[in-house]
Symmetry: C2
Subunit: 348 residues, 2 copies
């Protein structure tokens, strides 16, 4: 992680030690990376370069991953915390190329929360899990006093099985590879923000949250060589691209004209002063593949509901600093830095 926290200097971090955790530490940007590196990875030795970790057990190559969900509000257009808690963890497994097998779910419920709303969340979770073909095999329930929670927090963990021999990890990215993005950007974050702030767009923005495993499974089934997969959650497309560039120690050139932001998302971002490239998605991913496989991968993705708007959006080039450059529609180019704090707190 040390490269990831010192490179990308266009937006320098304060050099003073941070004494207290801030909302920005949860935003998916550089402050979060530094907290993870300095506090979590330093002591626990956890590999932070990927969405999940491989565990070998009894001859099986398993992937395990976890995510806490604290989204506010709990219900938003296109989804709710229950479906999100399934898709978020299923997608982290998918990004490791692992077929999702089972989930665990732990609930922290605030005293006074309506049982009917809890049931609505659990039903949504059950429907998402059934559709994804995973079972919620184990759970836990804790209740905290009024004012010490926020309705419901859900933490899911997932187990997936790797059934192929590919090594899908930023370290597998090569000079000359092609970056495919699976759809338009910024819907989930803006759907949640509009619901939270009571902003209305026409048409309304629905979250893109969905299960990405079918798309990954189709690429694997077609033997597309997958060098890296990453779902574009906290920190959005831009932060993910920078993370991969820094991990791979290669540069990435992005073609802005190949990125889609639908009109209501663009309008809401402009209103709130946000850059859609940094806004979280929950149903979009990027795939980095060798140039020889790019057109085939694109055709497969475009044939699926989760990838209809897929495009080739970038190219990997030589470089040791892990820089990402955006070639704009105007013909200019600009450096893309990692999000330094939290653009949107609590969107997942």
């Amino acid at each position: 992680m040390s490269e990831a926290t010192t490179a990308g200097a266009s937006c320098p971090l304060p050099r003073d030690p941070v004494d207290c955790v801030t909302l920005a530490h949860g935003g998916g940007g550089r402050l979060m990376q530094r907290l993870i590196a300095d506090v979590f990875a330093a002591h626990l030795g956890t590999d932070t370069g990927h969405d999940g970790a491989v565990v070998c057990a009894g001859g099986a190559r398993l992937v395990t991953t976890t995510d806490a969900f604290v989204v506010r509000p709990l219900f938003f257009p296109g989804g709710d915390i229950g479906a999100l808690a399934v898709h978020g963890t299923v997608n982290d497994l998918a990004m490791c190329g692992a077929r999702p097998l089972a989930l665990t779910a732990a609930f922290i419920i605030e005293e006074g929360y309506a049982v009917a709303d809890l049931e609505r969340i659990v039903r949504s979770m059950a429907a998402a899990a059934a559709a994804a073909g995973v079972q919620v095999v184990s759970g836990d329930t804790k209740v905290v006093e009024r004012g010490h929670g926020d309705g419901v927090y859900i933490t899911t963990a997932g187990i997936g099985l790797v059934e192929h021999a590919q090594d899908i990890h930023p370290r597998a990215v090569r000079d000359g590879d092609v970056l495919i993005v699976s759809g338009d950007l910024g819907r989930h974050g803006m759907a949640v923000m509009c619901a939270r702030e009571n902003l209305h767009t026409e048409p309304p923005i629905a979250s893109d949250q969905q299960n990405l495993w079918p798309a990954v499974a189709a690429l694997l089934a077609a033997s597309v060589e997958l060098h890296c997969l990453r779902d574009l959650t906290r920190g959005g497309f831009a932060t993910c691209a920078v993370e991969i560039a820094q991990s791979a120690k290669l540069d990435i050139a992005i073609d802005e004209a190949a990125l889609t932001v639908i009109a209501p998302v663009a309008a809401a971002c402009e209103l709130l002063g946000l850059d859609p490239l940094y806004v979280a998605n929950e149903g979009r991913f990027l795939a980095i593949v060798p140039a020889t496989d790019a057109e085939r991968a694109l055709a497969i993705l475009r044939s699926l509901p989760a990838g209809r708007r897929s495009s080739i959006a970038g190219h990997i080039g030589p470089g040791t600093d892990g820089r990402v450059r955006l070639h704009t529609r105007l013909g200019t180019s600009r450096h893309i830095a990692m999000l330094s704090g939290a653009q949107l707190p609590r969107i997942c």
Copy 2:
């Protein structure tokens, strides 16, 4: 679960539907059982009869489990939330007879929490994990606004490997089996309560939280036939005994003289009006074994640090209602019911 929520009628439940979640729903008693049955198990189909669930993957027999930790205060004599989050999940795996392999850890941190304290928690977690021989392989960090959390909540999930052919589950309990309890009761809950309420006992009460896998591993290595294992967490010894009796549809007779409660725990319980048999432990378990294996199992447990005070505390007898009777030191006997609500909120 339907038997479990309707039997044990000495302490009748209100028949009205419960509209809001209360602290008692998190206490490990009958209200929690009913919430789990009506809301979680009903929709998710999760098996609620055990501490973890078996997942078969690529030829391996795995167990997975999860627990959210919301203990207050975060630091208490004998432990802290970090070590507890490791031991709680490792112990749930151990109770399924699974060797703990890996943990995931998701943190929900309240804005403003001191990074130095967070680091102290993570260091404690790392030490507990290293001592238990498990790695924290994957993590997540979320930050919630001041007043929407309580310092730190940690959810761990664990993966363990079953390396034997035994079926350790309440359904394996038989008439004639013997119940062994691995030590004195009530320390963890009273250590946390004394820390929270600023009560001082002489000597001070330290939590019993510890890794129970070495004790289970020793029993398995000696081929002791293990019918059921259960760690005595929320709801304490009494609730666990009732849960098992109800799941097995057999009666259990407990010998009070075989149960140990150390003097400061007894004194603190008396002061707070609590029954130590219902107070949570985090380093005690009960093992139900055939009578022929009981003395051998007891000798093995007594040879280990986690089981020095083990005793044969009960016998399984015929019965279909799953009743637990306590034969007191005075020669009388009384019916033991499941905890109906929360005796002690937020002790784990």
